[in-house]
Symmetry: C2
Subunit: 646 residues, 2 copies
Amino acid sequence: MLFQRVSKGVVTIASGSWTKVTCKCCFTDTVRPLLVIELNKDVQLETKQWIISKIEAPANKQGAQLLAHPGEDDDGDMILVAAPSCTLLRNAEAVGLSKPYRDGTMLAFSYPDRANFKNADNVEELLTLAEQQYISKKELDDLKAGTNESIPGCSKDKGSLYPGEPIFQKLEKSGIVKTMYPLHDKEKLSAFSKQWYSQFNSGVQPLDYIHSYFGGTVAFYFSFLGFYNLSLQLPAVLGAVLYFLPWNSLNGQVLLAIFNVVWSTVFLELWKRRSAELAYGWGTLLLNSTFEEPRPNYWGTMGHNPVTKRWEPYFPSAERKKRIWFVSTPVVCAFLWLTVMGMVAYFYLEWCVKDYYSREPSWLAMPLLYLPSVLHILYVDFMNHVYKTVAHMLTEWENHRVESDFQKHYTLKVLVFSFINCFAVLFYIAFYKQDLELLRKRLVSLLIVSQIINQVTEALVPYLLERFLPSQGTKQREADPHIDKFRAQGCQPEYPGLFAEYIELFVQFGYLSLFSCVYPLTAALLFLNNVTEIRTDALKICKLFRKPFVAPAANIGIWQTAFEALGFVSVISNCWLILISPQVTGYCQENGVSFRHALLCTIALEHVLIILKVVIAFVIPDLPKWVRIKVAQLEFRSRQALRTVA
Amino acid sequence: MLFQRVSKGVVTIASGSWTKVTCKCCFTDTVRPLLVIELNKDVQLETKQWIISKIEAPANKQGAQLLAHPGEDDDGDMILVAAPSCTLLRNAEAVGLSKPYRDGTMLAFSYPDRANFKNADNVEELLTLAEQQYISKKELDDLKAGTNESIPGCSKDKGSLYPGEPIFQKLEKSGIVKTMYPLHDKEKLSAFSKQWYSQFNSGVQPLDYIHSYFGGTVAFYFSFLGFYNLSLQLPAVLGAVLYFLPWNSLNGQVLLAIFNVVWSTVFLELWKRRSAELAYGWGTLLLNSTFEEPRPNYWGTMGHNPVTKRWEPYFPSAERKKRIWFVSTPVVCAFLWLTVMGMVAYFYLEWCVKDYYSREPSWLAMPLLYLPSVLHILYVDFMNHVYKTVAHMLTEWENHRVESDFQKHYTLKVLVFSFINCFAVLFYIAFYKQDLELLRKRLVSLLIVSQIINQVTEALVPYLLERFLPSQGTKQREADPHIDKFRAQGCQPEYPGLFAEYIELFVQFGYLSLFSCVYPLTAALLFLNNVTEIRTDALKICKLFRKPFVAPAANIGIWQTAFEALGFVSVISNCWLILISPQVTGYCQENGVSFRHALLCTIALEHVLIILKVVIAFVIPDLPKWVRIKVAQLEFRSRQALRTVA
């Protein structure tokens, strides 16, 4: 039998059928497959063998130093990949992962010093599953063609490789490799997934499990979501108290506006600390900056890369800047203009309809009253979809060399648009119409509508799918149940990534910090929404999608900045809402304070709040004291080591 | 004869009289002394010999691996220190200095790979004089006492050392070492100093010479000053045009206000780029962060340092925080209050005097009119001096462990006070009195008075001193002219550092960016002032003071932030000055625009300008493209090297 089960319930394969390891220390009886490469059906055996030979070749022969297994199923279109411990450990050092040293502190892993790390003899304990899969993927991505190499078994046109071309990018582009995915480990997954997504009473997520199973960025998303929801309890309780107290709910508006500004600042600062604690515990606080390879879709005329001096596709950055400034920026502005125009049209239409209804009220005309809102919501949704596609195409066309630049430009485009698209109407009502009642109604309807949509699309549909559709795992062929299980994972849809999830959080954080002072129940509603959000997101990643490759991460990256930027805008909106609040206007009328003075006071308050924000950010250290001491210890240690060597 | 002159005009000493080098590669015929340690007159020979033995001992015997020369002058209270090339090169790597590689690019110096660096065989060419002196000083500072060691020839009380105590800190504290200073190299100095401080026509400073002779922070100060003055030409010309054009000088106020905000942002962004270029050229762009030793004045009960685990004086940071928040902060606030009260008293007194004069005008009472101003200027000056002393004492008492923390807290204290002390009156006139004419008069008098004081104290006095006082170098005793020259350098006053110079620039940058739109000639006056400022500062450091120890630097550090913060405040003050400008108020009256609308427009403008600032800072990259490519090359190279080693 090809597969064996060993003690810990991990699916492994007898090492006989794998390619051979090159060093003795890596030899084991059984090997655990980490990822699957699915080839196209019509790929020649010759090509498959060449790929396997590249995977198994040692580093000095420009190979990936991994183990390959030809799959041996009926179609022969699958390669299983595993990693010998030497490859994993060397790369753990290159990535800059920290691991528990024998004295218990986290220390940047060092291959030569590996014996002094805990679990040094058991790579399965030392490196998490996600790290092993990330490293294996990275080794494959780093495979480069030699001089005068080409893919055998292919037409000359399709199989030609320039020296240094990333082989797997080429294989995917030319359709030889259909897809690659990391494998689930169902037993590991089931050890924490049930608790994670189905126990509605516990607020604590199994973060360490999530990190070790899914990897850095996913673990940070769920940590952030959990921490955010925990922090929401304070404004939720305060808001509910203000809302249900026997006096007018508007009384609390000034209090709540100032509270919101302070709360959002403190929350983001505390998250930075929490984030550093998590990153220290996960050994990712001091990751090495990596020299990124070009994106798969990067293209250009062949030329010498000014940095690496390699002969590769090269696209001049001046040309890219031209595209960004003279095409992308105007297109984005046009979309923003369309959004604003849509809003103006909505208000105009609503005014027309109301005007018509007031002149000729009838049962038949009643539904007309809802027409503008419905049209506008459809328009907003439509624009949202079109814009995302356009932004993606534009950013692709800007032809960024590395993935991180691509992500940065794409995120910026979508963030600016989401901000205008979601908040323009609210800003218009608050600043131009100055109609607090309308603002409150609009906010409530947005909160409730978005929640209903959210619950239905993100919770109910997946639940029903999961419950009533026949699980793909049951369609096993008897011959080789494991290969079939792997294949079933490949049939699942690809995980869409966390971008949309972060945008969702960004928008709800905006409702909360910008406008919630007019509707104190906002935080409570968001809290309830997020309780299910956590579970449905967890269900999605555990059950409904293919396991994604996830890079180690030290924080939530650009999203921290995005949320902090919202915090600054919230000062402006909250100050304005204070100025036009019934409390303040009433006070001014009673005491004969001119609008001019009220306005000057509000400006002063705005500046004080901004200074307060900066002071809070300055006073709360970004790292908790114990993490700072640990980091200082690490630095001191590495300096001592250097001195000793010198 | 003890001293020889060798070809390049460098004072060297025949190696016979020096302690011996431990490695062959460092042996030379003559040795060039780098720094002088002056001992107290009553120090025992035994103590002096012990110090010399510490200086010359190799690293494995906890020594500084330097060369010592007993001085051999009449008093025997001097030790000359030089450095063998191995010590210098090893430390150049530890500090993280970059040096030209054989292919011409700057590369982090590596001791094992030293043969591939340019000038590898000649340490005098490879390392600048300032770097050699900094490294030698650092080696001395890093000398630590072993277990059960004490200073011989001293009373037990005075000479006791705990294990790991920095020896030279103890020697200075106990008065055994009177002072230490790096030696001038008169020939090197005269090669560029004349051009630097006496040619009034040339605007270009010999920055590379300054960097190699004086070192990083000094070179960056003068580069910044030069770049700032160059950038001043644009507002100076624009201001002069606006001032001398036949229409009312106030016409340009709005234009100038907006120009000032944009100019100050662009200037600071361009300086960042210039600064990166300089740092790349000087090999200091990628300095290693160093683990700082405790300050000499740091004290505490003996305990285990949580980071290093060493047994040393330890002062809990909770106690320090208490001192900062419950003592320093209130004291600083009290001083700010006193300053503001002084200002209020000044305005009250002036009102009284004017009132009195208008009732009883007489020739005798005339001088009374000037009394409030004179009293206030004296008060401000007095407060300034007292505050600086108090701030220094407070920061000392806060007992920061490392020098950089001390500097940070001291700078922050002085900056906040300088801001209030210098600008409070102007803000009061602009925002509260809203009297543009008074603001202009006050600004002009401040500019002219401060320039006169500056020219007299910084230029005329030093010039006269230099010209007419007998140079100390002429009092040579015949016996040993070189030792006498060294001793003469020790008699010069210690260089006061760049703190006061930066504060001066900070204040004049404040006049310019905050208020200069009411007086367009400000920039031109400042430009003229700085033309002499550069020369007098140069004269001071070259001729009038002892040569300072200067650390390598990658930028101007905290001052960049301080200037940028002023830039943000300038948005507020400029917008306000636009609002109350005669242009705008005139326009509003003519066109019937209410103050309310003008105010709202100004607030909108303020927010637009702040966004503009942020966008400018975002759009102008911090590193010029060629430096970015070089840095990427460096990173790629070191990663390649790592891969090859692995």
